[in-house]
Amino acid sequence: MSGGPFDGKAVITGAGKSQVGRRLGRTGLDLTIEAVTRAIADAGLSVDDIDGIASYPGPGVPDLGFSGATITEVRNALGLRSRWYLSSTETAGQIGPAIEACMAVTLGLANHVVVYRSVWESTAQAGAGRASVLFGGGAVSGHLEYTGPFGALSAANWLSMPAQRYMHDFGLTREQLAAIPLNARANAGLNPDAIYRDPLTLDDYLNARMISEPLCLFDCDVPCDGATAVIISRRDAAAGLPHHPLTVESVGTGMFERATWDQRVDVTTMAAHDVAATLWEHTTLRASDVDLAQLYDGFSFLTVMWLEALGFAEHGKVGPFIEGGERIALNGPLPLNTSGGQLSGGRLHGMGFLHEACVQLWGEGGERQAPNSPEVAVVGVGGGPVGGAMLLSTR
């Protein structure tokens, strides 16, 4: 237990995951309740012990499965007696509400906060196609006003450009980048909940169809149905619970530039770099202390960004770091995305990484348990102008 922004008072006591799959035909609320109640039971608590609830993104976003259930829906469904609650999209990435829950328990506003993220994109979008989700019709507005007219409708387009420039400037190759999806697939093969578990080879990757060059099919994650939840508790309220409480050592919430996909001064960096800078400001731990990394892979290149932002490799030098995949393999020095990430495990949209970090720190990974007995894990979530990070330990 170190000081850090929460002075050791914010801990994680449980984690839960719903059924995860493609076109499950279940509603977002149904999946959410499954994950939430599993997390509560995992923490050794009852629903009546939960006095706080937080989630991303909340209401007011285009739906089609992106927002599985709002806090209001979950509160009403479970009859929660909340002392504190929050949902937001304008926060430190998809795990921003988990960070805010740490603040709430540290300040004594709540004892046990359930934090969840749920999606049912695979079912909601069945038959309609991805483009129907990206754009519903009418005039393009918001930041799509300046991208949609040029056919740049997907984050695949917005992120392939910095990936192309990074390859141009620093010599990152497709063979090197392949280590991210190949590692994810290898881990997914050991995770019974993962979507894609069949082996993937370098040849498969190099021969895959391009989506938006230089990113190919296997550089893009897979929409799914599923929900994940964790319980964030005030340490004083966690005595006697079954799990060893995981200390939230630090969080990264920085955003130093305008939140755009195209105007950042250095297009080969992202919000992740600002997030990581603030994460390390609040702790004496360093990247060299980290045993396990769960880093967002909605697109493989985003994991590259997180690896350098967090200091595992110097700016521009992630290619040699990941080449061949040994360093990031399950039995390597820095096991990465041990559940298969979103590339092979399914787009649980950020919270899946926090869930997996908890599972691994508790030694409950089963076949995919990292053999280095991790004690310190970093979670980095988001891409482009979106980002948040958490540093957890068993100490």
């Binding site: 040029f150 056919g151 997907s154 105007q263």
Partner: protein, 165 residues
Amino acid sequence: MTDTSSPAPASSPAYVRPERRLLPQPTAESAAFWTGGRDGRLLISHCRGCGHFFHPPGPVCWRCRSTDVGPEPVSGRATVAAYTINRQPWIPGYPPPYVVAMVELADEPDVRLITNIVDVPLDEVRVGLEVEVFFEQWPAEPGPDDSPVWLPLFRPAAATVGGAR
């Protein structure tokens, strides 16, 4: 520079206008950007306080926070900062492949526009390629302002066509 019928560079595939594009409904802030092409002008938000351009348009300069801002024409010359060849069909009526790029304006290199690079073979698009604007007119989406819009697209700058490639 203002119409799409001017001839493409001889060695390049001629740009074919797609059947459909997703279109903006210009706002008070963005109208100049989307309609400057009517007069062949690329209008970018400019700060009279610090003299810098900025994008996207807005009511205040993010650098010096002056509100003495307004659209001003730029040269229309730019450089490709990053690009992608989109291969995935996203929009019915706008089939791939097409090149999406971030271009940096010659007048203010840290102002980037997302655009299409056209009239150039896909394998000749590169970081550093010098390009120039032209405009493609479309009817606006139905709304309070039904003015047409002129989308700023880019193609290799005339001076570089046939040069050392």
